[in-house]
């Protein structure tokens, strides 16, 4: 009985978390003005090195950076706005 109750609690928490996360991820949360003003170069310097060295823009073609950008958004869970700015910076710095 206790096990069933624990499982029910976990399921309820999971459902609430999923619903909240879905709501915020679809509605979007706001970045502060300072954060929203950051350039692609600054975001590239800040975010890439959280896991690895900052990549050279010449490492991939502009078209390939689009693909790498999506891959990195899903690995490092950077925001979509950060990905767009970083990819734009890398494409324009070839």
């Amino acid at each position: 009985m206790k096990k069933i109750k624990t499982l029910t609690n976990i399921t309820a928490i999971a459902i609430v978390v999923v619903l909240l996360v879905s709501y915020f991820s679809i509605q979007g949360c706001a970045a502060s003005k300072d954060i929203a003003m950051k350039s692609g170069a600054q975001l590239w310097a800040e975010n890439c090195q959280r896991c690895h060295n900052t990549p050279s823009p010449s490492s991939y073609s502009p078209e390939q950076w689009e693909t790498i950008g999506l891959h990195m958004q899903s690995r490092a869970l950077i925001t979509a706005a950060e990905r767009e700015k970083i990819v734009s910076f890398l494409k324009n710095s070839q």
């Binding site: 096990k3 976990i10 999971a14 978390v17 999923v18 996360v21 879905s22 915020f24 991820s25 679809i26 979007g28 949360c29 706001a30 970045a31 502060s32 300072d34 954060i35 800040e46 975010n47 090195q49 959280r50 896991c51 690895h52 060295n53 900052t54 990549p55 050279s56 490492s59 991939y60 073609s61 502009p62 078209e63 390939q64 689009e66 693909t67 790498i68 999506l70 891959h71 958004q73 899903s74 690995r75 490092a76 869970l77 950077i78 925001t79 979509a80 706005a81 950060e82």
Partner: protein
């Protein structure tokens, strides 16, 4: 006798030279314009490929050499062994990664891997970028438990030649579905990653195995991680993870066996001129319900133990990025790891290791690593089941080259 050439010959020669220079200059200008046009067209073609199919092969390779000295003491008797091998048997890896982007919303990722375990697959999944903060994924996934396996395990990212014991082993890859995303929160950021998968399977010795496409029971395993970046410059990320699910095969004495796992992770990267400080840490904790396991000497009998496993590591790397060209490519790294497996089981042990390394970065994505690791493992396995293996001490030296392509 000298012949005097008439002045008109010089005038004609001068005219011819002027015309030639002019024509040459026009040619150069035309070449330059043509080259610029060609370059622009090439760029255009490269960027605007027809259709929506965009295929990219990238990946990584890790090769090296390892030399080990192993001392094992059981009941006062010590055996010594020395080994060395090319190919760095524990960490050799050749993993091309195939990324196939369809437009801006769909991404297929596939990473086959050839390692000391043979040919395998690290992950194979398809992602749909549904909204700015929502990615939906299905396939063969690295579950979101901590960050080491998903983000830091690649040879060209890892600061040391070896993986921290137990950390990656406790992060299953499984068939399932996943939702994740990164979200701005004012000056902070958060990210979430939630997966539902077939779940792991409890084996007869109390270990767990994962990655079966056919679920061993009707229950699905929930894995979730929540990350928080409290500073506006993203230097610090803190994360907590949990994994909950049934482990036992349906219709067996293990049918009700279940597991709970928790993890906490920390990632701090910041520059204190002229040094880049990089700190990583993760703590894993796994608890499986007490079950009667068949005695390997007499399967009609059973034995039990507290099936509790924990592992953790803390790692610090320093790189003088503000120094001169040669010095800034060096990096110092150190790591402490602990890994405890269940006492009185067939595989119980208390293990720890200290690793120190000097790396030289040849480029942003290729590195030569020299790592020394001292390991100590004290068996806590059941003496009653003849599984006790005494005290093992190992000293190992690794020379490794890792690259991302």
């Amino acid at each position: 006798m000298k012949t005097q050439l008439p002045a008109k010959y010089f005038q004609l020669l001068f005219l011819v030279l002027m015309v030639a220079i002019n024509l040459s200059a026009q040619d150069n200008a035309a070449d330059s314009v043509l080259n610029e046009r060609l370059s622009a067209i090439e760029k255009d073609i490269h960027y605007n490929k027809p259709g929506q199919e965009h295929f990219l092969i990238t990946g990584l390779a890790t090769v090296g050499f390892s030399a080990q000295k192993i001392n094992n003491t059981v009941d006062g008797f010590t055996t010594r062994e020395k080994t060395n091998s090319l190919g760095d048997v524990d960490h050799f890896e050749f993993s091309p990664m195939l990324l196939w982007r369809h437009g801006q919303k769909l991404l297929m990722e596939f990473e086959p891997s050839f390692s000391d375990n043979g040919l395998g697959v690290n992950w194979a999944d398809i992602s749909y970028f549904a909204a700015p903060g929502l990615i939906l994924r299905a396939g063969y996934l690295v579950l979101p438990f901590g960050t080491y396996s998903k983000r830091l395990a690649a040879g060209w990212i890892d600061k040391l030649a070896t993986d921290p014991m137990g950390i990656a082993d406790m992060t299953p890859t499984d068939y399932g579905i996943e939702m994740e995303g990164g979200l701005p929160l004012g000056k902070m950021k958060m990210n979430y990653d939630i997966a539902l998968s077939n779940g792991s399977q409890l084996m007869n010795d109390g270990t767990i195995s994962s990655g079966d496409i056919t679920d061993n029971n009707t229950n699905k395993t929930l894995t979730a991680r929540l990350g928080w970046l409290p500073f506006s410059n993203s230097t610090l990320e803190l994360g907590i993870s949990g994994m909950f699910g049934k482990l036992g095969d349906a219709g067996t004495p293990f049918a009700n066996a279940s597991g709970k796992m928790y993890a906490a992770d920390l990632n701090y990267v910041n520059t204190f001129q002229p040094v880049l400080v990089n700190i990583k840490s993760q703590f894993n904790f796994q608890d499986i319900t007490g079950e009667p396991y068949p005695d390997p000497r007499d399967p009609s009998q059973t034995y039990s133990f507290k099936n509790h496993t924990s592992s953790s590591f803390i790692q610090c790397a320093l790189r003088p990025t503000g120094a001169g060209k040669l010095i800034r490519n060096f990096e110092l790294a150190g790591r402490y790891t602990h890994f405890d497996t269940p006492a009185n089981s067939l595989f119980g042990s208390r293990q720890s290791s200290v690793a120190a390394g000097l790396n030289y970065w040849l480029s942003w994505r290729s590195v030569v690593k020299l790592t020394y690791e001292a390991y100590k493992g004290k068996s806590t396995a059941s003496k009653f089941l003849d599984a006790y293996t005494g005290l093992t001490k190992t000293s190992a030296l690794y020379l490794q080259f890792a690259i991302q392509l």
